[in-house]
Each structure stands twice: as C-alpha cells, then as structure tokens.
Amino acid sequence: MDDPGHRNHDLGGRPAGRCARDEHEYEAWEKRVDALMMVLWTRANAITVDELRRYIEELGPAAYDEYSYYERWMHGITQALLQRGLISVEDLGKKMAEIEAREHG
C-alpha cells in the first residue's frame, strides 16, 4: 500500500485470501456495545452512524488491525461522547479505574 491516500480501513479490492464463513457466538460485552450504540443513536441522538465510522476509520493502522469489530465500535462511541461533551476524559478515566479495581482488585 504505497499510496498514502489509500487508507487502512478501505479493504475493498485488496487481496484477502479466503473468507471465514463460520458462525460464532457473540460475547455478552459485544451485545452490550451493540445495544449501547443503538440506544445512543436512535433514542438519545448522541451519535450518528457516520460519526462512528469516522472515528473507526481514523484509528491508526496498527490499532485498526488489532481491535476486534466491537472494540472498534467501543472506540468510536467513546470518541463521539467525548467530542460532544457528554462525558469527560476525567470521568471516563475514573470509571475505567473503578472497573479495573472491581475486576482485578
């Protein structure tokens, strides 16, 4: 990928090998992220699908490739809520530390 205009997420038309067609179960947290996005989008008007996509597409190549599908959503939702001023970086940090302590403390 020599052209800097060819962004990392834009996979269409690139050689990709075979696609895995097997079904898989979603983890509870993945379902929760999906539900959160739907509520924030359709009920709270706190995000649009296009904003979600922008934040995902703006991930650095390494992060984009490493994150799973719903990890990318989580990143996009977080960015939108921060950008719109609905949560603060400080509140987010505190909450993450609280959960970290609860799970691993």
């Binding site: 800097p4 205009g5 269409g12 038309g13 922008r54 597409e57 703006e58 950008q83």
Partner: protein, 104 residues
C-alpha cells in the same frame, strides 16, 4: 437513512446510462467511496434518491442539502487490470454526486 422529499435536495446532474468518472480525491474523515473505483470510468445504473451527505454527518452536521446518490457500474477488468474472472463481470458502487464527473 429513509428518503425524505421535504428536505432541500441538490438536483441530479446525471441520468441512467451516462458515463461518469469517479473523482480521484482522498479527503480525510469518513468517506463512503471505495478507493478502488477512484479515477475510474463507469456507467450510471440508477439514481437511488437524495440523502444527507455522510461526509458532513460524520462531523455531526446536517449534511443538507441532500445530494443525489447514484449506483455506478464498472467492468471488473477496468478496475483491476489483472482481474482473472469473466470479462463481463461488473462491480456496482453507490456514490454521491459530488464524487462524479462527466466522462461522455
């Protein structure tokens, strides 16, 4: 993204059958026009309606006036010179009017 005829819309510039070239542009933000078709010539297959510009919606702006959305048909071998499938295989891409230039 349901079509809503009451909101302001830009009139369509192209008709079914017109030859169009996708702009070879690389804007930042959220872009729904795939890289592989940029700079390539295709044919308007249908007009899909008019919708708010997603590139603006991505910044939490209105995206209005709504822009005509077209489905453009390309020959696969035109997009990929080393394409090894059938010669008449096609790819259809939906893209907004501001990405199209006349190639008549």
């Amino acid at each position: 993204m349901a079509e809503n005829s009451t909101r302001p819309a830009v009139p369509p510039l192209f008709a079914v059958g017109d030859r169009v070239r996708i702009r070879n542009a690389h804007p930042p933000g959220h872009v729904r026009t795939p890289y592989y078709c940029r700079g390539h010539i295709g044919v308007v297959e249908r007009l899909c309606g008019a919708f708010p510009n997603p590139e603006e919606l991505a910044y939490n702006r209105s995206g209005l006036p709504a822009l005509p959305l077209y489905r453009v048909r390309f020959l696969s071998r035109e997009l990929w010179p080393d394409y090894s499938g059938r010669p008449n295989d096609v790819v259809e891409v939906e893209t907004f009017q501001h990405w199209l230039e006349s190639a008549e």
